[in-house]
Symmetry: C2
Subunit: 316 residues, 2 copies
Amino acid sequence: MPDPSTSAADPLPSWNDGPAKQEILAFIARVTHEGSPDFLPLAERIAVYDNDGTLWPENPMPFQAAFAIDELKRHIHTEPHLASEPMVQAALAGDLGKLLQGEHFDGLMQVLALTHAGMTIDAFRDAVETWLASAKHPRYARPYHQLTYQPMQELLRHLQANGFKNFIVSGGGADFMRVWVERVYGIPPEQVVGSTARTTFELRDSGPVLTKTVDHLFVNDNEGKPVGIHQFIGRRPTVCCGNSDGDHAMLQYTTINNPRPSFGLIVHHTDSEREYAYDAKTKSTGKLVEALKEAPRRGWLIVDMKQDWKVVFQPE
Amino acid sequence: MPDPSTSAADPLPSWNDGPAKQEILAFIARVTHEGSPDFLPLAERIAVYDNDGTLWPENPMPFQAAFAIDELKRHIHTEPHLASEPMVQAALAGDLGKLLQGEHFDGLMQVLALTHAGMTIDAFRDAVETWLASAKHPRYARPYHQLTYQPMQELLRHLQANGFKNFIVSGGGADFMRVWVERVYGIPPEQVVGSTARTTFELRDSGPVLTKTVDHLFVNDNEGKPVGIHQFIGRRPTVCCGNSDGDHAMLQYTTINNPRPSFGLIVHHTDSEREYAYDAKTKSTGKLVEALKEAPRRGWLIVDMKQDWKVVFQPE
C-alpha cells in the first residue's frame, strides 16, 4: 500500500467525489494492502483497457477511421484505380453508416487493407506520425492524441503506481496504436493488444523489412478480446475497463468466477455538452449495450461521465 | 551501470574466462554506461531468446515433442480411433524422422492438433504440469524443466539486472511454455512469443472458458520469428540469442542496420560428452546452419559450448 504521506493527496483529482471514485480507490487499497485476504501478488496485477470510447472518444467516428479516410485522400491522387471500389467511394463521401456497418467495421477494414497492405511498417509508422502532427478533431480542433480522458489517464497511472501492468486491449490496429501509446499513456508497445494481420519479413540491401499484409486478420473485438488477451498476455486480467459491447466478453473473462479479486468498469457516455451522450451499441445488431444491463448483477462499476468526471479531457 | 561494489563479483560464473564471456560483459557494460554514445535507453533494452537448443536441449527431440508423444499414449486408451492416423502411428512407434520432417515439424503439429484441439486452456495447463512433474529426460534422468543451461540462465538474469526485458521467442507452443517459464526463467507469460492457434471464448455456467483450436496456426519459426516479434512486442530487439536456422531471421532482424547497438549470439553445440555435438540443420533442407556461416560477417558471437561453458546444466 502506498504511503499516503509520500503519495499525492488525491491520485484522482479529475474525478468528482462520490461513489465511483470511492469504489475505485477502495478496490486498489484493498488488493495492495499486504496481509489482506484480497492481496494481489504483483504478477497478478494485470489491467486491461479498451481504447476507443474508454480512454479517448469514438465520435464522430473511431479516430483510426478518420486516419484511414485521410490516408485514402492522400493515396487517391496517385492510385486513381481505388476510386472504383464502393467502400472507397463511401469513405471519400464521408458515408460513415456504410463504412462502419458490419460486425467488425467491414467497410473500414477494406479501406485499411486497400490503403495499407504492402506498406512497410516503417512507412506506416511515418504515415501515422504525419497524420497525428497535422490532423485535428472536427469538434475540438485539437490533435486526436491530445483528446484522451484525463480521469482515465489518472486511473491508469494510479494503477501503474500500485504495481499494475497496464495493457491496451482494443479493436484498433496494433500498428496504429503502438506509434503513440508510449508517449500518450506511458504504455510500451509490447503492452498493446490490438487488431493485427501478419507481416512478411525479408532482408533487403537496406536491411530487414517487415511489410503489412491483410492475411490472417485478427479482429480484437467482442469475443476476440479474451482470445487476444490469452494469446498475447497469457493470463487473466484482474482489472478491466471498457465502454461497449465490444468489451463485454473481456469484462466477463476478467471478473466472472475469477479466483482473484477483480474489478470491472464501464465508461458510460452521458455528457452531450462536454463529450457525447450515447449508449454504445452493438455494431452488428444496434442493440443497447448488454454489458451495461449486466453490470449491476456482476458488480461492474458504471462511470457516469457527466456526473463522475470533473474534467473530461487532458489539459491543453 | 551497476555498481561493482554491490553486484556479485562475477555475474557469469558458469562461463569460462575467455573471449566469449568478455565480449558479452563488454557489450552490456558499454550499452548501460550513461553518457556512452552506445547507451541504450531502458525502453530499447529488449532481449529475445530462442528456447529449444538455446536455453535448454533439443535432443533427442524437442521437449514439447516428448510431451506430445506422452500425451498421445495417455489419450490412445480412451480414443482408439486415433490409432489409424499415420502420424499417430509414427509417434507411438517413436519414429522421430517421420514426426519431425517437414519445414515446421508437420507430423508433430498434426499430433499436437489431434491430442490438444478441443481442450480448455485450464485442462491443457494441468496436462503440462502433470507431465513436468512425472516425465524424465531419457539421458539425464531429470525432469525436463530442470535441464536448462546454467550459463544461459546467468546471461538472461544478468541482462535483466541491467534493465533488459527478456522475451522467449520460440517455435514451441506459447501455451506449453507459459506454464513454466515464470518459475524456470523468471520470465512472465506475457513475455513469451511462441507458436499459437486461436482459442474460442464462451461463457459457461462454470464461468468463462477458452478452448484450444488449430485455426489460424502461427508457427513462430524462421521468418515467422521477426513476424512474431513485430506482432507481439512491436519493436526491434537489441539482443538476440539463438542456435539454429530457425533463429537466423531474428538474428538478422535484431542486428542488421539496427540504429541501436545490438548483440547476436549463437549457441554452438560442440560438446558430445556433456550435451550433444551437432550443427543444427535447417529442418526442410538439411543444410548446415546458414546462421553459423553468416556469423563472422555479422559479428554474431558463436558460443562454443564445450570450450566456453564451465557447467552446462543448472545444479540439481
